[in-house]
């Protein structure tokens, strides 16, 4: 009997929090209230970063687009720099840099990316702003949703959806512009003669922008986005997050005659923090998966606190330690932050090294494997190499090849002035022959040196092996 009770108590413990789990699964539309405030301004400023996405493709650099991801040509142009597939390691480092940047920022200040920079939340914010302008505040919007379809409702809804789709199209078109000449692409779109890939991209972007930002909104963060969950587990007790100070707020109670009742906390259950939340959660239940840390509830609560004459900051950026009254660890004493910063620095140094050492010309040498070496009739040993000269400059170059590393070696197949075509690899088959007496070991390093004619800084060296029989 006792066992039975224990079991029951245990099960109840498990579900103790479940009363607070009001996760919206999309069966109701969240109509969040929009309120001015400090973090509202920060959110606009952060969203403005996305203007680069729309304006960027029109910047020019010399005769071409300043930033152009030329996929068919397998070249990325970023202002004065041209990046070819051979430099892909820099892309990996860039991705590593941003992944770790996400981790370190999340570890310090929560889901800053989600709250301020993520395209999903930014586009949703714009879409709901338009909705707010056309349909009015949350009350009016709910009423309009329930109202019968009359001319006014149809007019308002049609205008809203047309604007949403237009934004979706502009998003799609702007995306494609990064991959081709922006002005040519526009010409293609306006004359309906763009490529099917371009049209397809625009269609996909339009559809998903409209679906995600217009209809699914916070559902994307809840159910589709892996980063939302990944970032959630990167918090620790020192991470500062928009948090409700329960010590100050509890026990809650409504205002009586404009005053907080004796013995009650500062939270007056006005519900403004919930009303403004774009994902429809209640921050007072503590940190939860639905919180994108946009801090709009901070603005709402501060406005109320000012009105009732209490200090602001009942909901504020605070760490769990701070709320529990524990001493806060300094940022640079946290091992997690230090490890992340070390990786960041390494990735950044790698990228900078890469950018400053991108040579205009690069030689790679592949040693023939079958056979590794050939015995010639005079007893000398011949090795075959394929020499690949990559010319990253904008002009065709004439280059000279020299090979060194063994006494009395002779080279055939790479003599004189060799053409290295611009923007691609030109390959040559080169035979190196040495007298058998020159070989002291089975394999000897030899270097291939390529130098552009008339351009002294365009040089590249590669070390390969010369293989011979066992001496």
């Amino acid at each position: 009997m006792n066992d039975q009770v224990d079991k029951q108590a245990h099960a109840d413990d498990l579900y103790a929090e479940s009363h607070y789990w009001h996760v919206n699964t999309g069966n109701e539309t969240i109509h969040a209230k929009r309120m001015p405030g400090r973090f509202r301004n920060v959110k606009w400023a952060a969203a403005a970063v996305w203007l680069v996405f729309f304006v960027g493709p029109y910047l020019r650099w010399g005769e071409r687009q300043a930033v152009l991801f030329d996929i068919p040509g397998r070249q990325f142009h970023i202002f004065g720099i041209t990046i070819l597939p051979q430099d892909v390691w820099m892309l990996s480092l860039t991705l590593l840099f941003f992944a770790i940047l996400l981790a370190v920022v999340t570890s310090i200040a929560g889901r800053v990316f989600c709250g301020y920079f993520c395209f999903q939340t930014v586009w949703t914010d714009i879409f709901t702003w338009i909705e707010d302008k056309l349909e009015g505040g949350p009350q009016k919007r709910r009423k309009l949703d329930e109202a019968p379809w009359d001319f006014t409702k149809i007019r308002i809804k049609v205008v809203k959806h047309v604007i949403w789709i237009a934004i979706g199209m502009l998003t799609g078109i702007s995306f494609t512009l990064w991959f081709g000449d922006a002005f040519e692409m526009w010409k293609g779109f306006l004359t309906l003669s763009a490529s099917s890939v371009a049209w397809g991209s625009v269609a996909v972007f339009t559809f998903f922008t409209y679906l995600f930002a217009g209809h699914m909104r916070e559902q994307v963060c809840f159910w589709l986005c892996p980063y939302a969950r990944i970032q959630g587990v990167m918090y620790d007790k020192e991470t500062i997050l928009p948090a409700y100070d329960y010590n100050r707020g509890e026990p809650r109670g409504k205002l009586k005659k404009g005053q907080i009742e004796e013995g009650k906390g500062d939270c007056i259950e006005c519900g403004q923090c919930v009303a403004v939340c774009p994902t429809g959660i209640d921050i007072r239940h503590g940190q939860q998966e639905g919180c994108i840390t946009c801090a709009l509830c901070l603005d709402a609560c501060d406005a109320v606190m000012e009105k009732i004459g209490r200090p602001t900051g009942l909901i504020r950026y605070a760490s769990m330690d701070e709320l529990e009254g524990k001493p806060a660890l300094k940022m640079f004493q946290r091992p997690r932050v230090l490890v992340y910063l070390t990786i960041l620095t390494l990735a950044m140094s790698g990228i900078l090294y890469g950018l400053f050492n991108l040579s205009g010309i690069e030689v790679k040498v592949l040693h023939e494997r079958q056979p590794l070496y050939v015995l010639q009739s005079d007893g000398s040993i011949q090795n075959k190499y394929s020499v690949k000269i990559l010319n990253k400059t904008a002009q065709d170059q004439q280059v000279r090849l020299s090979v060194a590393g063994l006494p009395e070696l002779t080279v055939s197949g790479g003599e004189g002035s060799l053409a290295a075509h611009k923007g691609r690899i030109t390959s040559y088959t080169v035979f190196v022959r040495v007298p058998r007496a020159s070989l002291k070991t089975e394999s000897t390093p030899i270097t291939f040196h390529v130098e552009a004619e008339g351009e002294e800084e365009l040089v590249s060296t590669y070390t390969s092996m010369f293989i011979g029989p066992r001496p």
Binding site: A11, Y15, H19, M216, Q219, V374, Q376, S377, S412, F431
Partner: protein
């Protein structure tokens, strides 16, 4: 779900496990249902557009008229049209003219790799490096001559080496031993037997071989059979090459590829082989 966690008062199936676990019978989220319906609609549309449904005498053809073999043929035609600008020139040119044209010879080196793999690599090795008993094609030593026209002739008509066992006359073991030692040292003419047994008739007065007969140079570092050891040379002298009277005779036959390949393919192979080892 536990009975405490049913905020929307959804209906349950009525089953209860572990005292308080009930199964809710509410609708899945709307977006999920939309996804479900969109998926099966897509399957139906796909089935209309593409061949999919089993039908009498095959399957439905689909409105798009797409077939796997059709797509394959299209791709092959696309590759052939890219290659046409080179391929169209090849039949009218001689092998030596192709070799002299740097662009065409580069094309041939890249495209004839498959041809070489299919027809030549079995004996001569994937890189032309030869195999025991089969000549190396990447060195500078040629039995019948390494100029392009000779290579074309070799590939077209094949080759059959010939060397009589014991020089076609009787040779004692001591004589074979003496001759083999002289050859192993790279100085065949130092042995009087080289003249006496008429080796010079094929291998030349200086022992440097004769392309017209496919007789190898005996003074260089490259050996047609074996590794140049006295033992291997003695075997060759004793049993000869392709000597019908000696069942242990060495074998040296290259088949006629003129019967299997067309002229253009043979020209391609000749160019490919010429380029293998920097002639």
């Amino acid at each position: 779900m536990s009975e405490q966690n049913n905020p929307y008062g959804a209906p349950t199936t009525g089953h209860v496990w572990d005292d308080n676990l009930a199964e809710l019978a509410n609708q899945p989220p709307k977006w999920w249902m939309i996804g479900l319906h969109a998926s099966w609609i897509l399957v139906v549309l796909y089935g209309i557009a593409y061949p999919m449904w089993p039908w009498f005498g095959g399957a439905t053809t689909g409105l798009m008229g797409w077939t796997q073999i059709g797509e394959y043929k299209q791709d092959v035609a696309a590759i052939q049209s890219v290659r046409a600008k080179y391929e169209d020139q090849l039949p009218g040119m001689s092998a030596s003219a192709i070799l002299a044209d740097s662009e065409l010879s580069e094309y041939v080196v890249r495209s004839a790799k498959v041809l070489f793999g299919d027809n030549c690599a079995a004996c001569h090795g994937g890189g032309g490096q030869g195999n025991p008993g089969y000549p190396n094609l990447v060195d500078d030593d040629w039995l019948y001559g390494g100029d392009i026209d000779t290579i074309v002739m070799t590939v077209t008509n094949g080759r059959t080496g010939m060397m009589p066992a014991k020089a076609g006359v009787a040779m004692t073991d001591a004589e074979i031993d003496q001759l083999a030692n002289a050859i192993a040292q790279g100085q065949p003419t130092s042995s009087p037997l080289f003249m006496e047994k008429a080796c010079f008739a094929c291998h030349g007065m200086d022992g440097k071989g004769m392309h017209a007969l496919g007789a190898p140079n005996l003074t260089d570092s490259i050996w047609r059979f074996g590794d140049g050891s006295v033992e291997a040379i003695k075997y060759t002298i004793t049993h000869g090459v392709n000597d019908p009277s000696d069942p242990q005779s060495r074998n040296a036959v290259m088949p006629k590829f003129g019967e299997r390949l067309n002229e253009t393919d043979i020209k391609k192979l000749a160019v490919y082989v010429s380029k293998l080892g920097a002639n």
